[in-house]
Symmetry: C2
Subunit: 131 residues, 2 copies
DNA sequence: GATGTATTTAACCTGTGGGTTAAGTACGGT
DNA sequence: ACCGTACTTAACCCACAGGTTAAATACATC
């Protein structure tokens, strides 16, 4: 999972129309026209959205007569979930308090660094998350 | 959690520089200059990235002398994790096979609908995900 | 082979995202 | 008071995302 793949996945998910399409596909395969139906949007627009989702690997497309049925491919969503899970401890309430405490402690030491030589800061807890 | 908030969070996370900044902030508060240091990018560029992260609620900023220390606010990441978790069963390998089976079953029934009257499809498993 | 349906492609418009440089603001130290 | 440091704002550029309409493609049916 390269950083670029994650970037395109997030970019794809940033559009509510595309998220709605994914949601719709959880109840099964659907044709382009069926997917377009809930939206006040031209077919080519939907077609573009589907192309984005396909490039990102979030859907796969079939080829039956004149239909191009879409089905959900949730693989990249696991990457998203895994990425976000790295920050789990930072949204846990208990950690918030711990963080405040650690910040106070840190305050006693040297901060930011004035002028050219600012010491590299150390990680305080756990390993560094993947980007 | 409105759909728009989720959209801006995903949009914010779609940029690798911003994700790197978040990762850096897991090891504690940092000044803008410190955050900028790893990147071959002008300060204003970093400043803009921070503004995006702040608007999205992913960081909060302090005000100490001429420094604007940033700290991580992981709240929105929980929303991301929760959203992605809705699709958990779709990336589980076991489900893939189940899905294939169900798709075959469905194939026996009417498909897509020819002409005007295509029947509304039913959800097959569980509830509909939030968008 | 003409017609209708499903979908994509092409050409185009507009807004915005991410970068730049240059100037402005705010603060501390001497 | 002046200088250096930290950071933001302003003005600008360019690429691209998301939408449009109109035309092209692919297939099924009559």
């Amino acid at each position: 999972m390269t950083s670029d793949q994650l970037s395109s996945t997030f970019a794809a998910l940033a559009d509510p129309t595309r998220r709605a399409i994914l949601a719709r596909l959880t109840s099964g395969e659907a044709s382009v026209t069926q997917l377009a139906e809930p939206f006040e949007m031209s077919m080519p627009a939907i077609s573009k959205h589907l192309k984005v989702l396909e490039r990102t690997g979030l859907i796969a497309r079939g080829h039956e007569a004149q239909w191009r049925p879409c089905r959900l491919k949730a693989g990249p969503l696991k990457d998203v979930a895994d990425w976000a899970a790295q920050y789990r401890r930072f949204w846990a309430e208990s950690f918030e308090r711990l963080d405040d405490y650690l910040r106070d402690v840190q305050k006693k030491g040297k901060k930011y660094g004035h002028g050219k030589h600012h010491g590299k800061q150390r990680a305080r807890i756990g390993a560094h998350p993947r980007v």
